[in-house]
Subunit: 607 residues, 2 copies
């Protein structure tokens, strides 16, 4: 061993001990004949003192930042104590040292506040990983994994590995494929998730399965997506939705406790998908704050069911009359916004990412009067009615967007989140969990005039909807009226777990009957032959005693990033890829040899 | 929840309780008006009693093997107790039941002793997994993983995930490659191991890393190899070989304790590679028994250094004289083997797998006389000298093989293992660990007249051999005399852990100096450009303060199979592939769509 102690463990109780440390040189400070070095390892930083007697050695072997140093000496109480770090009361007066390896000057500072840009830090990721900020993230990730494993173990779950070289069955996302040398012309696919395998394990009777496992999706990468990502993947049999919800809110609460020291004792809120869409404009609402959406054209669906003002809204103002949807939010305490502030908000909603044409506001003044950008069209009493419908109180600012249904809903949802952020209502250290339930089973795919599975093709309809599904023909005769098809109203036995406005996990009770699974595949446009080719093994398995089962998968990278208070999952992955799917450090992907093409019996076909 | 209890937990203490169970029908036995059903789940088997009152229901809903059943009733003491199972003292007198799913008649028996052949069981792997024998294997696998994680956690190791989509750097084995859609013409490779990434983590200062991780090798599959396999992968920094040995024999001892209840208190034996080769004829000796090899031509290298009989061996018998090598083993207590038995052994060594031309034997009779198959060439005193050299005692049988060096050594090693097995010296419940040390760093590759790394290109030479390596030109001028090249004698700072004759883990202290790493790559025939293209990131990392480090990887599948007492790793993998790399259950690999080729910009090039 090159050391007897780490750089994080020595303190005033060790004074007098002779120790050997090994680590990296963080700083070198020379004061006349003596030199101070901060030595860093995974566990902390310890101050070394090179006395006059070592001067000659030091001159012969000068130290630089990030040199790897082995140093032996005596633990001594410091005169100039640093109370900010656990080792701050001592220093090591050295008797000898050895440079184990030198270092070039690093291209950026190995400090919390680094001067390295993103690209540089990705290229030298092995240096970036030395920074405390990144190390804390990976430690948190390990702690989340460890906590999950412990909880699941205590609850009788078994970690069972599923294969990585599987079969390509492109459904939602694109598969990464792997040419098989031993089976020329054929390909494996990397799993988008272990979905069918975990279901087979249920058929096999392994009633509580889990895995923390890499999954792969060959999709165009958005800012915060990775081609390979990690799931906490779980499945149970002989359970109903309620059992899954209670087991896995238990898991997340345990993680809160183990990793953040938070006792999350309250019960986890629940909301139907429809409620979430009406009240928050999206299916993963941040419920750390209210400011719910009020749809002024369909107020019956919103929290404020008393006021029916759709007629009023439409009557006086052509823009509102013509708009498919008009949605308001009441921002608390902002009635005194200046013209400049409301103008800036109007510009904000007009940005291409939001895409609205304008914004209407009503100031609910503290004195009970109302002032709006639509005073021409509504008198004060009418403004009050609208503000009341939006749930505004004196002192609030009502913001109203109008336009096409989906865009307006999304825009208002974004506006709500933005205002929540500006008002400090999205506190970093507050965690609010939410189950979103009762999703539609299907979505309508216009291009193919057919249904697609909103979650995935293995999700079961609600028990009460099974008959509807079995007894109706999934074909859509009249594309314009797809909403009238009985399938449009089938609800899924599915659930998402939302944390602070982020989906951290999702799952469903699965189909376990062959007939229903075939009907589902049929609805998705797969004929019998294609069903057999792609999922014959699963349909076959359902004939040999498949139990009722269901499960959930958590996005491990995302969960860690939220717990770590970051927007970016990349900060929580040791070796992430960039937006083009490249690892710029190792320079992958890259070309391969002619011999490899030859053995795999493939060639390039570049456009 | 479909059940209130599992099929494994009810016993005499639960008598009187009303319970609901769910599981699979193992057997149905009808006795007049009553029916007994054994219901099975992951936890056990419980007997259900369907009384007369349920007869009508049963007739309307007949049960069959592997039906999924939910059953409610009262726990009752059995008159006819089964002491072999924990639930054998009770049965459930049912009040109601529900068939949750039916089953076709399974294609083979779901029992320990199944009538299903290998192919059938692989095709219906989801049924095979229901068998107790297979379930026990997966449970053992989970226990080994859990025990490893706990030990490593307690020793400050951190589980850090490394990427799966990396760069193709074919060295030893072939890479599986993955075409990149976003980077047309370029490919990722699946990792053969996380080797370079774990080394980078050491450079980053994560001084104790581990991962239980899938690795991939596209090699022609032998009986017991899988294209994807799992490693317990570990790395430490600021350590020397001794630290690694002690840390990881600790790991294996902990696994013995946790998984098998075995206190492995003795210290783990150690042997140099050379010793292993001379005394056991291979580098992973089974040391549960002795029967060491005695090389009669080079007896100085063997355990019996006193007798120098090489001259005697060569003088009298032309076959021995002409043979490159003559090796003997003394099989204890077999001097009374019949002619039939020695003939059979001779046939055994002549099989193509062993490939010898014949076998010589000497019977060391209990009365002190000697009888051999070479009585023509050696007198009794000479036979005694040979037998003594082989370490034989009265009552033993000395077996001697002669021929070309490598083949004869391998054959004698096989013969030793075979005799050990026949003599019951390879006890299934005895576990003997061994470290094999001091491997050669290089092997000679005849076809390219260059060196190849015996372990891998990142393994460090012994500290005392570093100068030899740096100061000599690795080029081999005279192919015939490669053994005289200084590189031929360089020893590696490498170690293998052997359990009962199987290599379960291996690792090394790594090179951490750029100059030495470049020299290694050069020795392997890589010019500067190729080094930069393939491993530029690692060479670069070594310039920024790389610490001394080393590690080890255990073959998880193999370790589990040995602990489970099986020869086959397949039995310990939930969804293994067959010898052609196929998953016959899901039928993978398979063809992919034209659209996928198009997007990936590749096409087939079938020969």
């Amino acid at each position: 061993m090159f050391r007897t102690k780490t750089c994080g463990e020595l303190n005033i109780n060790n004074v007098g001990e002779t120790v050997t440390l090994a680590g990296w040189v963080q700083t070198v400070r020379k004061f006349g004949a003596i030199t101070f070095v901060d030595l860093r390892d995974r566990y902390g930083i310890t101050q070394l003192l090179f006395g006059e007697d070592l001067n000659k050695d030091l001159e012969a072997n000068p130290l630089g930042r990030e040199f790897v140093l082995q140093a032996t000496g005596t633990v001594t109480e410091r005169s100039n104590k640093n109370k900010n770090i656990p080792t701050g009361e001592i220093e090591i007066i050295l008797s000898s040292f050895k440079i184990l390896n030198k270092s070039e000057v690093p291209p950026f500072k190995i400090e919390d506040d680094t001067d390295g840009g993103d690209d540089l830090r990705m290229k030298y990721r092995f240096l970036d990983l030395r920074r405390n900020a990144v190390k804390r993230n990976l430690e948190l990730r390990y702690a989340v994994g460890r906590s999950s494993r412990n909880y699941l173990h205590e609850n009788n779950f078994m970690d069972i590995e599923t294969p990585f070289l599987i079969k390509s069955t492109p459904e939602g996302a694109r598969d990464f494929v792997v040419p098989s040398r031993m089976n020329p012309g054929q390909f494996y696919a990397l799993p988008q998730s272990p979905q069918t395998f975990k279901q087979l394990l249920m058929v096999s009777g392994y009633d509580r399965y889990y895995q923390i496992v890499k999954c792969f999706r060959d999709e165009d990468l958005r800012a915060d997506r990775q081609p390979e990502f990690t799931q906490i993947d779980c499945e149970m049999c002989f359970v109903e939705q309620e059992d899954i919800l209670s087991m896995f809110e238990g898991l997340v609460k345990r993680i809160f406790k183990d990793v953040k020291g938070i006792d999350y004792n309250e019960s986890v809120e629940r909301m139907s998908w429809e409620e979430a869409m009406w009240q928050f404009g999206n299916d993963k609402p941040d419920i750390r704050f209210g400011m719910q959406l009020c749809n002024l054209k369909f107020p019956a669906h919103t929290f404020s069911t008393k006021a029916n003002i759709s007629a009023l809204i439409a009557a006086n103002f052509a823009v509102f009359n013509e708009a498919e949807t008009v949605i308001a939010i009441a921002v608390p305490g902002c009635s005194e916004y200046t013209r400049k502030q409301t103008d800036e908000l109007t510009e904000w909603v007009k940005r291409p990412q939001i895409g609205m044409k304008g914004m209407v506001f009503i100031k609910c003044n503290a004195d009970g009067t109302y002032k709006s950008s639509v005073d021409k069209f509504y008198n004060e009493q009418q403004l009050k009615a609208i503000a009341d419908a939006a749930g505004a109180k004196a002192g609030d600012l009502v913001l109203i967007l109008a336009g096409a249904e989906e865009r307006t809903r999304k825009a208002t949802s974004e506006l709500r989140l933005e205002m929540g952020k500006r008002m400090g209502m999205r506190k970093e250290n507050e965690f609010k969990l939410l189950w979103v339930l009762d999703f539609p089973l299907f979505e309508y795919a216009e291009e193919d005039n057919r249904w697609v599975a909103r979650h995935h093709p293995f999700t079961s309809p609600k028990p009460s909807d099974i008959d509807t599904m079995i007894s109706n023909n999934p074909a859509i005769e009249n594309a314009a009226e797809y909403l009238k098809h009985p399938y449009a109203n089938i609800k899924a036995n599915a659930y998402d777990m939302v944390l602070n406005g982020n989906e951290i996990g999702g799952g469903s009770i699965r189909i376990f009957q062959r007939e229903l699974q075939e009907k589902m595949f049929e609805a998705l446009g797969m004929d019998a032959e294609e069903q057999q080719h792609k999922f014959g093994f699963l349909l076959g398995a359902f004939e040999y005693g498949a139990p009722p089962h269901g499960g959930i998968a958590f996005g491990f990278d995302r969960l860690c990033s939220i717990l770590g208070g970051s927007e970016s999952i990349r900060d929580f992955i040791a070796f992430p890829k960039n937006n083009s799917g490249r690892d710029v450090m190792i320079d992958a992907p890259s070309t391969i040899d002619a011999k490899q093409f030859d053995e795999l019996q493939i060639k390039l076909d570049l456009k």
